[in-house]
């Protein structure tokens, strides 16, 4: 993560947490995530719901007086959580992330209907009912195509990923 060393100069002012649209639901706000990071207690925050509630709105990042790239830090922690399988039991976001990536790896593009379908079937049984009204409208308006678009170079995505896997293995 470029310029990650900046977290050393965090003055714990709370601008990030105060600016965060979802911090009120987080186990730890972004400020506390940085404090935990510095205190060597990352495991605590990685397991928390915090990182999965980040919407990537970048409000914290642009306001941070120490220019800490907090959104990137959240991504970094999501990666750690996925890698070490430290996912919170009740959170649906990690699954969404995973399906999204599966989708893109398979087709090269994100097929929104497929993504939603898979997500609903596995993680949120109630959703089709809540979504029904809107889904029907979108479908009739031609906004939900059933067949995924596939790109010609779709195998390239997998190949690139395989290369990076190999690189990572080599580094370790």
């Amino acid at each position: 993560m470029p310029s990650g060393e900046k977290i050393k100069i965090c003055q714990q002012c709370g601008t990030c947490t105060g600016s965060c649209p979802t911090s009120y639901l987080m186990d730890y706000g972004p400020r506390e995530v940085i404090a935990a990071f510095r205190a060597g207690m990352i495991d605590k925050v990685v397991k928390s719901n915090t990182i999965w509630l980040c919407t990537s709105c970048y409000s914290c990042t642009v306001r941070c007086p120490a220019n800490i790239k907090i959104t990137d830090l959240m991504y970094e922690l999501k990666r750690l959580a996925i890698k070490y399988d430290l996912l919170p039991k009740d959170s649906k976001n990690p699954a969404m992330t995973k399906y999204f990536i599966d989708n893109v790896s398979k087709y090269g593009r994100n097929h929104e209907v497929g993504l939603m379908a898979k997500f609903m079937l596995t993680k949120d049984w109630g959703m089709p009912f809540r979504f029904a009204g809107l889904g029907l409208k979108l479908f009739t308006a031609g906004r939900l195509p059933l067949a995924p678009k596939q790109i010609r170079g779709k195998e390239e995505i997998a190949k690139m990923s395989a290369y990076l896997d190999a690189q990572e293995a080599k580094a370790q």
Partner: protein, 291 residues
């Protein structure tokens, strides 16, 4: 004026109208768009959560194709695609490691990329290349009296802010002023997060965020909210009924892609702008614009 054009995945489904109206508006303004050949998903926010370098690599595949395809800048319509692609350029420049890894991955599929393809948001192109004067001169149906709430969305100018301010963006305000609209320049929610992907995973959170935006627009008496991102549009418009049921409100505020409203001002046929695709009807907007 010519650009390479990256529509993004949403433009093929929920955000189809954004793509259609973009093509119409650009044609009206004499701007040629050449769709990027065999483009792939930019990676969006999800990809950053796997391995940072994967997200840069798949974004760079698009940029590498763009560089092959021609010298024109790459024009992007979706805020998230724009940020992801621009961020890839930025990090490739900032970090030699990122540069090497990305190129390693690209080489594995017979590609390469030097990190220099200019990535431009469509509004950047409109304001800085086409120019407000030229746009104003092509208006056939001024949006006189129409109260437009400009909704920029998070990743319009954050985190980079290359063509507009990160805290108080103005380009969309200026754009619709040029089209004659009564722009609500102090729209306080212009940059508030809509919840993004969280509408699917934590609907309570996202609905509340949309509620705040819609309330703010209603308080200001907005006739229409304009958006520059498929996900924002979807959340604010498609989920309005659910916001209403969750918060006991009765919002019925049309939400349009800014290109749709611009198209109307430029005299395009509503059908060429994908106007029938909205869940919240745009009829009141059409009725409110003087012919």
């Amino acid at each position: 004026m010519k650009y390479l054009y990256y529509p993004g995945c949403s433009a093929e489904s929920t955000g189809k109208a954004y793509d259609i109206s973009t093509r119409t508006v650009m044609e009206k303004l004499g701007v040629e768009l050449a769709e990027l050949d065999d483009w792939n998903c930019c990676g969006a926010t999800s990809y950053f959560s796997t391995r940072e370098i994967d997200s840069f690599a798949i974004a760079a595949r698009n940029l590498s194709i763009a560089q092959q395809q021609g010298d024109d800048d790459l024009c992007v319509i979706c805020n998230a695609c724009y940020t992801t692609l621009a961020k890839t350029n930025r990090y490739m420049a900032e970090s030699a490691h990122v540069y090497e890894q990305v190129n390693g991955a690209l080489n594995a599929v017979g590609r390469s990329y030097d990190g220099t393809k200019p990535v431009r948001h469509i509004m950047d192109v409109l304001i800085n290349d086409v120019g407000l004067e030229a746009i104003e001169s092509k208006v056939t149906r001024r949006l006189t009296g129409l109260k437009v709430a400009p909704y920029y969305g998070c990743q319009y100018s954050r985190p980079i802010g290359s063509f507009d301010d990160t805290e108080d963006p103005q380009t969309m305000d200026r754009f619709f002023e040029a089209l004659g609209a009564d722009v609500l320049t102090d729209f306080p929610a212009k940059l508030k997060c809509c919840g993004g992907m969280m509408m699917l995973t934590n609907a309570d959170v996202a609905l509340r965020l949309c509620h705040e935006i819609l309330k703010s627009a209603k308080d200001m008496g907005a006739d229409v909210i304009v958006a520059a991102c498929p996900l924002c549009e979807m959340n604010m418009e498609g989920y309005q009924p659910r916001v209403n049921s969750a918060f006991g409100t009765d919002y019925n505020i049309p939400v349009m892609y800014f290109t749709q409203l611009a198209g109307l001002a430029l005299g395009a046929d509503p059908k060429q702008l994908g106007l029938g695709m909205q869940a919240v009807s745009c009829a009141p907007v059409l009725a409110a614009i003087p012919a």
